[in-house]
């Protein structure tokens, strides 16, 4: 056994690649979350036309995070990014009471899609720093998360702009990766 093959083996053990898909309505905080994960400056975010992608190392995994724009016109393209998704991360702006129903509806649509069947779901209940934000338990109830039976799921309260709660969510993601191969 040569040195090269040992190195290769080590590499393949330490770096498993995962595909994470970040979805949610516009202004939910997906890009801010993505930048927070990559430890980048979050103060100069712009609305996403199209998508962003970043690779982040976390707990020995290489996470390829896909952040797709949330505006209504882009939502029909979400489907093009479903294939081979390991974990679905859905971001909710908890201070946007008016669109809570819309966001619940979009999530329900996603969960029915064949390509996302059984894919673990993490919901980030974002913007908890705002006084008008609903607590994560209430958001879970509104969205009917407790009715989900076909996959593991978790809701995590967070503040994407300062990173509160983001790490806890990612730890859950790394623990709940579906076993493959």
């Amino acid at each position: 056994m040569g040195l090269l093959s040992i190195l290769k083996k080590l590499r393949s053990n330490t770096e498993r690649e995962l595909r994470l898909l970040l979805l949610g309505l516009d202004n939910a905080g997906k890009t801010t979350l993505l930048k927070q994960l990559a430890s980048e400056d979050v103060s100069q975010v712009t609305p996403t036309a199209g998508f962003n992608i970043k690779s982040v190392l976390s707990n020995g995994f290489k996470l390829n995070v896909w952040d797709i724009g949330g505006q209504r016109k882009i939502r029909p393209y979400w489907r093009n990014y479903f294939e081979n998704t390991d974990v679905l991360i859905y971001v909710v702006d908890c201070s946007d009471h008016q669109r809570l129903q819309e966001t619940s509806f979009e999530l329900a649509e996603l969960l029915q899609d064949e390509k996302l069947r059984g894919v673990p779901l993490l919901v980030y209940a974002n913007k908890q720093d705002l006084s008008t934000a609903l607590p994560s338990s209430e958001v879970a109830q509104h969205m009917g998360l407790h009715l989900i039976r076909d996959r593991t799921w978790q809701i995590q309260a967070c503040v994407a702009t300062d990173g509160t709660g983001v790490k806890e969510g990612m730890e859950w993601v790394c623990k709940n990766i579906p076993v493959k191969k």
Binding site: T46, A49, Y77
Partner: protein, 313 residues
């Protein structure tokens, strides 16, 4: 990396000798050689700036510190130029032993460089202020600006309500643009507004492209992303080529807006020429566009103009 370190150390020691040698042989100091030898505009001004930054003369350092302090107080404006620049230039001319009678062209040329360098520095601060001002729907001047933008872009179609799906017609994401400005704050709105005000034909032309049935894009959202590009190019100094080559303008907020208009016009052209499949190709084409702009900005001789070809006649 190592090579770079060795070079910077060498440069530090060798530079004074080279300068001394050239001074003796040409009988001109470095600033004079730049002002006489380099073409007016980005080439000359950037080299003057480099020479001033590298200077180890106490008086020159003090002049730089003084001008920086003026910028912090936001007093570097044309009305004050005489008061500020006259003493600064005479101090430098005295230390560098430049005789104004023998070299009458030096002072005006040098002054133009100083005006550009410190106007640019002040512009960075002013742009940052605008960017940090969040769009506030309770602020009536902000709201007026937003409505003005609508009227300029859609002169024949009145906005039915403040909260309306119509905002999507000019490329905002939802029925209220207030959340779309995000990290670019008021700067994004001011940019869009300037484009529509100063170049009404060009902006409506670009807007009509954004509604192309196949190659359409979201006008305002793309505009806000271009604000962020213009902002980064200004911050890292790349925009100096554009700003210093603008013949009749000093770097100020209007020139920043003009830079933005140039970017918007050029981006639109590249987007349409790329014949994208759909909006999901945005990040790729946007990156390609940024690279093209950056490479054009590295050439100090580049001139930037909006070349309007009337293709709708």
């Amino acid at each position: 990396m190592i090579f770079f370190n060795i070079w910077s150390v060498l440069h530090w020691y060798v530079r004074p000798f080279v300068k001394w040698f050239l001074r003796k042989t040409t009988r001109l100091c470095e600033l004079q050689r730049i002002c006489y030898g380099d073409k007016a505009g980005a080439q000359r001004t950037c080299n003057v700036e480099k020479s001033l930054i590298l200077s180890r003369t106490k008086d020159v350092k003090e002049v730089i510190a003084f001008l920086d302090a003026v910028v912090v107080e936001r007093r570097f404006i044309p009305e004050n130029f005489d008061d500020i620049l006259y003493p600064s230039i005479s101090i430098i001319m005295r230390t560098k032993k430049i005789d104004n009678k023998l070299h009458p062209t030096f002072a005006p040329s040098f002054r133009q460089c100083l005006q550009q360098i410190w106007s640019y520095k002040q512009l960075i601060d002013e742009v940052e202020d605008l960017r940090c001002t969040q769009y506030d729907y309770q602020n009536s001047t902000h709201e007026e600006k937003l409505l003005k933008l609508w009227n300029l872009l859609q002169p024949h179609e009145p906005l039915e309500e403040r909260i309306s799906k119509q905002w999507q017609d000019i490329g905002f994401q939802g029925d209220d643009p207030k959340t779309d400005f995000r990290g670019m704050g008021l700067l994004g709105l001011e940019n869009l507004l300037f484009f529509a005000t100063i170049y009404p034909q060009v902006s409506s032309h670009v807007l009509s492209h954004s509604r192309h049935p196949k190659y359409g894009y979201t006008y305002a959202i793309v505009g806000i992303n271009l604000t962020s590009m213009a902002y980064y190019l200004l911050q890292d100094g790349s925009a100096k080529t554009y700003m210093f080559n603008a013949k009749h303008y000093l770097p100020n907020i209007d020139l920043f807006h003009r830079f933005y208009c140039y970017l918007f016009f050029e981006f639109d052209k590249m987007w349409i020429e790329s014949k994208p499949e759909n909006i999901m190709e945005f990040s790729m084409i946007f990156k390609k566009f940024e690279n093209a702009v950056r490479s054009k900005l590295t050439d100090p001789a580049s001139v930037f103009r909006i070349k309007i070809e009337i293709d709708n006649i």
